[in-house]
Amino acid sequence: MSDCKPEEFLAATICRLILDPSQPTARHVAVGAASPVPAAACYLAQKLGYPIRLSLLARTQGNPFSDGTRELFDLTGQGRIDLFFLGGGQIDGEANLNLVGTGEWPGKGVRFPGSFGSAFMYMMTPRIILFREEHSPRVLVSKVDNISANGVSPPGVFRRGHAQALVTGRCVFRFHPDRARFSLASVHAGETVESVRAATGFDFDVDGSIPTTPPPTTEELALLRGPVCDEMLETYPDFCARVFSRSDDQSAPLPHEASLRGDPEGGRGGLNQPALT
């Protein structure tokens, strides 16, 4: 591997999980707001030639939804989103997610922003990839303080799928819903089973010898730094600047910015100028 940034490595790792042939095909993948690494992974899969419909919630220009923010949940409710990404302030060994906060409900210790759509998306999406770069005992805990979204459900409760995997800055775990436990799938370069165990607050299974997570190929790195970055520049300018050293021209005027300056030729001026180009 040539020098590659952790974000590039993680994006390539998540991309392989998206394309995992043992999983149902991901035709339509949605990516939540603050998720540049999963977004990069999805674009990489597209640029590698896989026909994936990608709905990026954070996109402003060209956002996929025209019926409001409920459209994502309506699509998911119908089973029309195949894969989604979730994380958590705390994640435990049964793949329960806590996005609410530590301490007593609703986060009397440290309050996190909140559960967002997790309590719905986790159960209604056939495949979920969990991603949290920080891999420490404070994040990966034996039992979450509060459950925003539960990793498994009792028999008889409608549920389309479970976590497929948990990707962190140290390793990849597989999740086994039948026994509600993670097993170690691979460790990133520089890590060992022991170092992962020391950094993990929950118990997990280790079956046989554990491979090292493969680094991105030369082709994958070139795609990430070229066409993937091109796609992400408008939505994730800070990420692209940090990871790919590319900057978006945020000072360029927006399509209808002129209308604010009272420019009658440039704006969406009303009925005489329905300038919805």
Partner: protein, 275 residues
């Protein structure tokens, strides 16, 4: 239509009102939130549709809020919402945690005028355990019985509050694809809207504008507030002012810093504009 000024719009909101507002990736009326702070509103119950952002944090910090019902409160890239977090810790506000599609669904029940609507998922989440107003029943249509499903009560805010690009002379407003604002307007008893500008004509006669429009049927009063979403973005007209939000996030870490921020950005700026 009822075209008024921003301070009069805020005066229409009695203390204790339930206000539904969109988050920072949609079109919150930050201008009206600031006007509510200036009018000294108290006991407001805010509903984030489906999450909450900058406007909620400043209203909470200014002591205007008794209750927040939402799926998350955040300043996005600028981090956690500082005044909301502080108020929650101090027990100054009641927090009713939800999950995004539940907020939409409760409002959709109000849109339809039905008392509740079902929603999949949620069973097993602690959110459900802390919502005594949410119920679980067995799906009455399940042939084999069983199949538990969550029922959510209709949520009818007193006011929908949001910002739009423009209003026409009939009081219709246009905000493009931000249709969660339409859900808010349809479900609320009344809506108060700020706009960048008012133009002649009737958007509903224009096929390209009509789908991005909310009819005057739902809207009680409109005030012009140029850059009324700022620091939040307005569609393809202005970008998010990230420097302003970072500056806020830094100052609002302490109650003193927040008061200083309020004085400069809510009270003083108004006084300067009035001169």
């Amino acid at each position: 239509m009822s075209l008024t000024d921003l301070e009069s719009l805020a005066a229409r909101v009695p203390d204790g009102s339930k206000l539904a507002m969109p988050p920072d990736n949609s079109l919150p009326s930050v201008a009206l939130a600031k006007a509510l702070i200036r009018r000294g509103a108290r006991g407001l119950r805010l509903v984030g549709v489906p999450t909450s952002g900058f406007a909620t944090d400043i209203l909470v910090g200014a002591g205007c809020v008794a209750e927040v019902e939402t799926s998350a409160v955040s300043l996005g890239e600028a981090g956690f919402a500082p005044r909301f977090s502080a108020a929650l810790k101090a027990g100054e506000i009641v927090m009713k945690d939800a999950t995004c599609p539940a907020i939409h669904t409760m409002l959709q029940a109000s849109e339809k005028g039905v008392p509740f609507m079902p929603l999949r998922g949620i069973i097993g989440s602690d959110i459900l355990a802390h919502r005594p107003d949410w119920q679980v029943i067995d799906n009455p249509f399940a042939e084999a019985g069983g199949d538990p499903i969550v029922l959510l009560p209709a949520l009818q805010p007193d006011f929908g509050v949001f910002h739009a690009v423009m209003a026409d002379s009939r009081g219709n407003v246009w905000l493009g694809r931000k249709r969660e604002c339409a859900t808010i307007a349809h479900a609320s008893k009344a809506s108060l809207v700020t706009v960048e500008r008012v133009v002649e004509g009737d958007f509903l006669t224009d096929e390209t504008l009509a789908p991005g429009c909310i009819s005057a049927t739902y809207i009680d009063a409109i005030a012009i507030a140029e850059r009324g979403a700022r620091p939040v973005a307005l569609l393809d007209e202005y970008r998010m002012d990230t420097a302003y939000i970072s500056d806020y996030a830094r100052m609002a870490k302490t109650a003193e810093g927040f008061r200083e921020w309020l004085a400069i950005n809510v009270f003083e700026s108004r006084a300067a504009a009035a001169e």
